[in-house]
Symmetry: D2
Subunit: 475 residues, 4 copies
């Protein structure tokens, strides 16, 4: 474990949260397990579950956290120990160094009013200042994640507020940034979404069981129904009678929904703010077809992230859609580090070209992004070796150029090929016959009139962000 | 560990074998790791690697075996311990009860001429008799797998033969059944394929490194080139000078290649006996389109096994191809057993329907087989709930009706819906609007003029198989 | 993990602490490992190490904690990760229920002045009130141990104090109870001992490396020299120049050193407050011989706790000393729970009587305490079966009758045979021919004129303790 | 796993065997667990249990083996899986390189008559020749232990013998060396002891449960009664009616019981061939007192191996016996390798001198052997630092000078200080004031008139042993 004053990990988090409340008193730990499994794509490094029994002794919380996937951390026997009818769960992704059990969530803590469990997706931009201020008042921190700052902000307000919702409301006046939050108090399940709507959060229901979670796929996977999205700036409280109370954060903010959720991050079968992720990607592919038409025989996608946009390109262009690859699903997280000099062969173990499909064809190859460019270069080389006549690359997002301060892990400039090379240079480097990135002005078309944050493409942040000096401090 | 006289496990094995020999003396354990990863679809229950150094002390073999996937059993540190330039590996699938480390392969043994390591894919039909006979001569068995019978047959002949190939040749005169075999002797790598060609085996090469393995995908994944298939009945020996010696098993047999490899078992990017697995499945889909045409809006496949045949159906019928599902790739082997009464929800966690794709559409749903029928019934129900107007099911294999004696795990009759219900009954049970199985007379079309074994569909076995009495004994 | 308001675990802790500071910058994690191994008898349930580099970035702490013995939790690879020249370690014993990694120590925390690591042996009697008060000020607790209350008390004072020693000094004005404390700040190693001297703490040195630890055996095991004991109420600070600063807690208190350390808890080769533990036990044996002389052939001790007092009895009485038992050293913590109806056989597996030693002899059997009486009853039965003519039992402590509030795990009344039976009743129940407990008035003789706490024997506590009502709350 | 033709491991084995048969059908796996725990001192590297149900399907054996101590390899859940009323267990010690699960025992094998489980303590001197001969007949070996040679010898005879006892009898005509063997056949428990009586084996009974095991401590620990020792050359069979059949190996041999069992190897509370191990060590100490009297104040033993002989020395000399050391019982097998330059400090962590005991005293220090001499040198140094005036060393065995071929791990010559130094040189090297080894002619006195093997001291082997050339081959 490393403990430092620097919130290095806070900046690079991607996460999924899941809260559930069975008013009829049924056990919910298995449902959290399934819900977190549906959210696993949002974070694979650690996970946790905290449950409580609203009928039992006030505030007795059972929890377990661990490093690894949901099905690695939780076995049948562990779930059976987690008895309760209200609970929250969390999946987390963080860059190396801070991947510790201590930093895993949910945070479970004891304070003036008993126990509280909290799961947070997002990132605060003023965590550093708030933490310093709290430490000056004698506070102790056990983790290096900014979620503990939120917990403290709530705990400090709770002393003088009548309800936990009020304490949360007052705490939100201090914290700045992106957050989708699920809080379990002894008798209530509470969801909080930042006023910009940067992070998604939605509500579901199945009989007398209520769910608040990051993505709708976690609701439908359980066979439950989607009620609605939590609105930007809304604090939603589900009480023991199944009432859904709503109050709003006072801070006024212009909505700025993260476009990255639609481009890559969210699951294909989720609907966020009434927009189908699948449909948005089909539209991205169509937009690419209109912006960069080409005379070709076949459209293929890089599995799995490029498949839907490839389908959209095919439909809009009339060029047939095909499968050009076999992906080895057994090459996963725990695969050995390749020590082979040739990175190319490492790609071959994960992805094989179907020779008979690409041979003699002019191909449109669609992916959702290009980071370093080495993987796509290897794929193009493999396709040419298999006999492809042409490989035209189409990318369903604009080039990433600016850092994200809200919890999305955009690689640093040094790693981004786009930050130091022109499109023509990139085309040559990867060996493509043509290259087209999604034009930034077409991005809005993916999501209709939903206001979006596209700061990572155009440097226009929805709120004032730390200047360069603090930025370095944070890294 | 259970030790019994009954070869129960022997009957139900599916496996992959991989042998490699670097004439230049380079370490090959990492290559075996990658090769086995490419063969992982052939067996996920146990795996093993045995290596030797042809320059080192004669016959010193280092090996490791374990239960689980290749990347679970072998970590970097373990691979580093396995130093050598010649080796064999194995992945295994077996039904419960005999999934023990003892039964994992390769078998490593010491006999008159030093060490031998042996990896076997397939099943003998006279293992029981041979084993009884060997025990009568004072032999001891440490495992309950029929591969140990092959090892004994070779060891007993080796006493009076000049070379290990000769011993293998004489041993093959005794064993009856299906086998793809890779044998490592102190200085030679040997591949053996049964005279019927029931099990696949092929040869690859990369510079001065030779490979003998079950499927070509393990060759191409390493960046090596396919040389050719081992012929039915051929014994191929690679010696230290890179010579490929060939001799043939005396037993005459009519070729009968397992069609199941093309329908389901082999990897999409493999080529077996000069026929592309991908193309054979496209042809299966086309054949279904011709046999069971229907007026529909969209063709979709059950991921991943039905996707290619669906593509073939779409191309032949002109009905557009689409994706209707999201598959949760994190729901794997170690997922908790679902305790929910409704099996339906268990399917939902693994597979989600993309509502916007299926809504208002008449759909052709393609899969490669129907076993119990419960999964496809749930999928159809989910599609209808999502708004599909019609769901026409097409299956790219005929109904399985007869047991396989050659190492393919065909479920027992009781579990097979086809063995006790008519097609119309099945259609009603699964809730399809129409149902079409691949006609058995069209099966040959998948693979051109390659002679095939389709005994599991038509009860015509390529050799005399044990009668019912012994069959029961074996189960 | 269970989180409750009740400090149930706090009451029953026994622990060992170890702090070390190498002024020359050498790595110290291996020394902590060895030091904790020497203190392992003080706590076997969890352990932890926190280290820092006084030359490195201020306050970067590396730590690791786990459930189990020191040699189970720390392997070579883990120690190598813990680089630093200053550090603290902890071994812990706690009753079941709260044995969680979260409750393991050292506590590592971030506060106004950077990082702090704290290891605590002892128990506060006002932890409950302090915690309530702190929570009322908005504090959050992550553990259920009272050591976190000490940490908060320090953190809150640190805001307004110039040095960490000052903050500790002011914090000690709030906390009430028994404590031996080692604190690591970025540049200082600090030891604190409660004003009653209830818990031991001493200072050692080896070249330019300083040690502060619970027992001297941890100093001598490392080949270091004992400097002196930390005085009751003393705060000792070792700075980067090797100066040992001393200040004193203002609270005035009458010294009351825990006699239990000498009777049972401390290691035989330790010296506490200038009194050899070994010699004190020899004196206890001698005192028993004087108080309860008997005509016998042999004096034997129950291994290992009764051996030294038996030796003392033998020397004082002139009756020869002998070994009557073989103890199976492989029957340890992880041994299976005995499911045998007869508890007697469970004793036989751990302890065997040497028949030829006891046969035909009149024996004095010495042990340090009798709790439930079942074990000694079984031992006596075994000795009689082996042919002992008489078994006279001598116990080197008075009967335990009252609870300890200071961190020593005295079993509850219900389990104590002495709380509900007369000595004569006990004698009959265990089958002894005579029975003698150490007279309470002879206890002082073990330790010369050192003022001792013997409240667990006579109900006279050195400070006001919680009354019965709160006592129940705490249990 | 290393597989070689060389039986390197065979030479250096020390083991314990335990067989049990409950005629009333009760489960016996927990009893084996306890029995092996009592034998744990005979082997700590691997262990195993094989059980069968004599009422169940013939020859179904359940077994489990693993590396580590009995309480590490077997947990409650594992023991519950091992259902049966007859079983054998084994604990093993082997030098590094061959410590593999494959080489662990019991060997469980299938042969002509079903299953057989075999546990072996000892070593064959003609294993190499037998194995070569068996391989020439087509046999396959799965392990590198000579116990598999015994198994084969039995399996080969079983084909032509009416009973398993007959097969064992005929097999013993081929094998040469030392063995204490327990064999479980489907309905019988069989014990076999080599004709020289080199290895111990005894029979016990508790109600209708029979035990055959290496040492009597495993019988008495279970609360069972010792019936008698198995005689040298005897084959003892316990059948389902509780009859004890006895037959004798034809080979005539002069008895030569291993004296090492009494000096060091066996447990203090065992009786072997009617001689108490404890008493034999008391006699060894007395013998030393007579051979090397000295004017001293205190006799102490190196724990634990030297304690009993020290007691004997004290009794015979009249010099008082004392404890001079505290041994840290937590420094065990899994302790980290000390990387400290000074080996001295490594000794200090394991053993502390009680200063107040040795100060100003002239001391006799007794141990059972001196191997490299470094440990005792450190102990003497520590005692002198603690103020001992004189340290006179007495060793209760003669110097080891010759290899053991019968399964006792005598260190190789290079490591033995005695093989290259005179006693006076050793005395100086270890810093003793005087040194006395047990005179070889006094050795017999330990065990009365029991014929003993003392070849490791005097090079007179009870049978012809391999000459130097083969010896090297074996190492």
């Amino acid at each position: 474990m490393e403990n430092t004053k620097i919130l290095s990990s806070g900046l690079k988090e991607e996460c999924g949260v899941f809260g559930i409340y069975d008013l009829d008193g049924g056990d919910i730990s298995t449902s959290i397990y399934f819900g977190l499994s549906a959210l696993q794509h949002r974070g694979q490094e650690s996970c946790g579950i905290a449950v409580s029994d609203t009928q039992g002794p006030k505030g007795r919380v059972h929890s377990h956290k661990g490093l690894g996937l949901v099905n690695e951390v939780f076995r049948e026997s562990k779930l059976e120990e987690l008895k309760g009818n209200i609970g929250v769960g969390h999946v987390r992704y963080a860059t190396s160094g801070s991947t510790t059990v201590e930093n895993a969530q949910p945070l479970v803590l004891n304070y003036i009013k008993g126990s509280l469990a909290l799961a947070h997706n997002g990132n605060l931009i003023n965590a550093y200042e708030l933490r310093e201020q709290m430490e000056n008042e004698g506070s102790i921190f056990h983790t290096s994640i900014d979620s503990e700052v939120i917990a403290y902000a709530i705990a400090k307000e709770r002393v003088r507020c009548k309800t936990v919702e009020d304490a949360i409301l007052r705490a939100t006046e201090k914290i700045q940034g992106a957050y989708g939050l699920v809080v379990m108090s002894p008798r209530k399940l509470i969801g909080v979404r930042d006023p910009y709507g940067l992070k998604p959060l939605c509500i579901g229901k199945m009989e007398n069981t209520y769910i608040i979670t990051s993505e709708s796929c976690a609701i439908t996977s359980l066979g439950a129904e989607i009620i609605r999205d939590v609105e930007p700036g809304e604090i939603v409280t589900i009480d023991k009678d199944g009432n859904i109370h709503s109050s709003f954060i006072r801070q006024k903010a212009k909505q700025a929904h993260c476009i990255f959720e639609y481009i890559y991050f969210a699951r294909l079968d989720s609907t966020i703010d009434n927009i189908s992720v699948y449909e948005s990607r089909i539209r991205a592919g169509a937009s690419l077809a209109n912006s960069y038409p080409v005379d070709a025989d076949l459209v293929v996608g890089v599995p799995d992230s490029g498949l839907t946009a490839a389908k959209g390109y095919s439909e809009a262009s009339g060029i047939p859609f095909g499968f050009a690859f076999h992906k080895n699903s057994y090459v996963g997280r725990t695969f050995i580090k390749t020590t082979q000099k040739d990175r190319e062969s490492s790609v071959k173990i994960k992805l094989s070209v179907l020779d008979s499909v690409v041979k003699g064809k002019r191909i449109v190859l669609v992916d959702d992004s290009i980071v370093r460019g080495t993987t796509i270069a290897n794929i193009i080389k493999m396709m040419k070796q298999a006999g492809a006549l042409k490989v035209h690359v189409r990318v369903s997002s604009p080039p990433f150029l600016y850092p994200c301060y809200f919890g999305t892990d955009v690689p640093s400039n040094q790693q981004l090929i786009a930050s130091s090379h022109s499109e023509e240079q990139i085309r040559q480097m990867i060996g493509a016959d043509s290259l087209g990135y999604m034009p930034i002005e077409e991005l809005q078309g993916m999501v209709g009139d939903l206001p979006i944050c596209k700061a990572c493409f155009n440097n226009q942040y929805p709120m004032e962000v730390p200047d360069q000096e603090i930025r370095n401090l944070l890294e």
